[in-house]
């Protein structure tokens, strides 16, 4: 059984001010298998984050159904861990309390929360920063806390919305490597939204290339490249060339449509 199932998803935004409806996502169907690492790749405004938010339960499709683990999604829940573009940490809580926030909600005792948080803090390499506050962390460290926080939910699926977009190139590479290592260790399902072709090719087991306005899935590409991925190898570049061509074609069609 698929871990995540999107069936005939359509999303229409009603623009009340301009009295015009905007078709954001047009009849998208997509299945994500267990333990898969799916990258949703597309330019900004193509609806990839909207799809992710639907899986998370923050948005509802206008038509179609979203099921996770066989049950229809009806609002956000702790069975789906989300890592946001900004880390979105509670600034008044130290790192370990942020990581264990879910357990705070469940009413765990402080000592137990502290113990449980440590495992995930170690996993993302933040040992020694347990008592730091978010304002004292760098962007990369904040994202690590966000990842640890999502992992602690021990969710069936982890949803990531361009979590590394704001990081510098070196930090981004380190984080990508660590994420793959964590995913291999935890054996969870990951849906990762990105606009970077390289990032999608480094991370994913499959890449869904999306077109924009309305958002559709242009092509699903299975990646059988060995890990760690060689970003300069010929097969990597073949995939990259192919995807870039898709994107270029798409852009051309859009410009023509705009002129016509």
């Amino acid at each position: 059984m698929a871990s995540i199932d999107l069936r005939n998803i359509t999303k229409i935004y009603r623009d009340a001010k301009r009295k015009r409806d905007l078709l954001a996502i047009d009849n998208v169907s997509l299945s994500v298998e267990k333990n898969e690492f799916l990258c949703l790749l597309g330019s900004s405004g193509c609806g990839k984050s909207t799809l992710l938010n639907m899986i998370a339960g923050f948005e509802k499709p206008t038509e179609g159904t979203v099921t996770v683990g066989g049950t229809p999604v009806d609002g956000p829940g702790a069975d789906r861990g989300m890592v946001f573009q900004q880390a979105n940490l509670m600034p008044w809580l130290p790192v370990w309390e942020n990581v264990a926030f879910h357990l705070r909600l469940k009413g765990w005792r402080k000592a137990d929360r502290r113990d449980a948080a440590q495992e995930y803090i170690d996993m993302v390499g933040l040992r020694g920063f347990e008592n730091h506050f978010p304002a004292e962390l760098s962007g990369g460290m904040s994202q690590r806390v966000g990842i640890a926080r999502a992992l602690l939910l021990n969710p069936q699926v982890i949803l990531m919305d361009e979590p590394f977009a704001a990081l510098d190139a070196q930090t981004k590479m380190d984080m990508q490597e660590e994420l793959v290592a964590i995913w291999q260790k935890q054996r969870c399902t990951v849906v990762f939204v990105t606009h970077s072709v390289d990032e999608a090719l480094v991370l994913g087991t499959r890449v869904a290339v999306m077109t924009s306005r309305p958002g559709r899935i242009r092509e699903l590409i299975a990646l059988d490249l060995p890990r760690p991925r060689d970003t300069t190898g010929p097969r990597f570049n073949d995939h990259k060339r192919h995807i870039l061509n898709l994107i270029r074609e798409e852009g051309m069609q859009q410009r023509q449509a705009a002129v016509a």
């Binding site: 956000p76 702790a78 979105n88 008044w92 926030f101 909600l105 304002a135």
Partner: protein, 268 residues
């Protein structure tokens, strides 16, 4: 050494003013009774507090009782204002239907100056603690309420998203996300509120109550004891300053997470 020289810098202006005032009062330019010298005020104040030579007449040795009755009124009215202002503010900020039903009424009552309630307060509550507590409540309630609403409304939506992703119920969102997020703003309201609270206690004591620092102030005015008036003014200022300092201490303890991330936190 630097700390010492810094505190010396702070004292320069007040000391200069006091010295000039002392000299001016003793120069005989004005009748001494109209502008008592600082030394005279200090002497009277000392007697009011410790009761050594009855220069403050009937008030001798009664300062602590007077200060306590004022402080109790502030505490009662302010306490009610804090609890009701924060709770109602969170409700108005969070639930649209509460905002729609309650806010218009509050916005209509808010511009009415609290002191203009004095006549009604007296006929409703008589001459005692209650009208004073009512006025203090009115004065402190609105700034606390408005700042709480503002704090709730400006809470980061993404933090609420993150918490609901982790399975937070609405009640948990309010307690674990919205309230702490609104806390900096709430404290701003608490500090404005405590100033209003002292102002209204003193006003109420001048008119509607027969005890407390404000009563002594007004009573001394009738008896032309301007040294006592000044001592009462200084006492009120001192207590106001002390309560504000207390709230500041509470604030920096509760908002310690802001250290290093805001301009305000650098003040210490």
């Amino acid at each position: 050494m630097t700390a010492l020289s810094k505190s010396w810098e702070r004292a320069v202006v007040p000391l200069f003013i006091l010295a000039a005032w002392e000299v001016f009062s003793r120069s005989g330019f004005l009748p001494a009774a109209l502008l008592p010298a600082p030394s005279v005020v200090l002497h009277t104040w000392g007697d009011w507090i410790f009761g050594f030579d009855e220069t403050s007449q009937a008030n001798t040795g009664r300062w602590f009782a007077d200060a306590l009755s004022s402080a109790m009124r502030v505490a009662a009215g302010y306490g009610i204002a804090v609890i009701s202002g924060v709770l109602l503010g969170i409700a108005i900020g969070w639930w649209r239907w509460v905002e729609r039903t309650v806010e218009p009424t509050i916005q209509m009552l808010r511009p009415v100056p609290p002191v203009s309630w004095i006549p009604l307060a007296i006929i409703w509550f008589g001459i005692a603690n209650k009208p004073a507590i009512f006025l203090v409540f009115l004065g402190a309630f609105f700034p606390i309420l408005m700042n709480t609403i503002h704090g709730v409304k400006t809470a980061d939506r993404n933090l609420i998203r993150a918490a609901s992703m982790m399975g937070a119920t609405e009640q948990q969102l309010l307690r674990h996300v919205v309230f702490p997020a609104a806390l900096p703003s709430i404290f701003a309201g608490l500090r404005i509120g405590i100033g209003a609270a002292w102002m209204l206690t003193v006003t109420a004591e001048m008119v509607a109550v027969k005890s407390g620092l404000g009563y002594v102030l007004w009573d001394s005015y009738y008896f032309l004891r301007y040294d006592l008036v000044l001592a009462a003014m200084a006492s009120i200022g001192l207590l106001g300053y002390a309560t504000d300092a207390l709230i500041k201490v509470l604030m920096s303890a509760a908002l310690h997470w802001q250290h290093g991330s805001t301009l305000q936190s650098r003040e210490g």
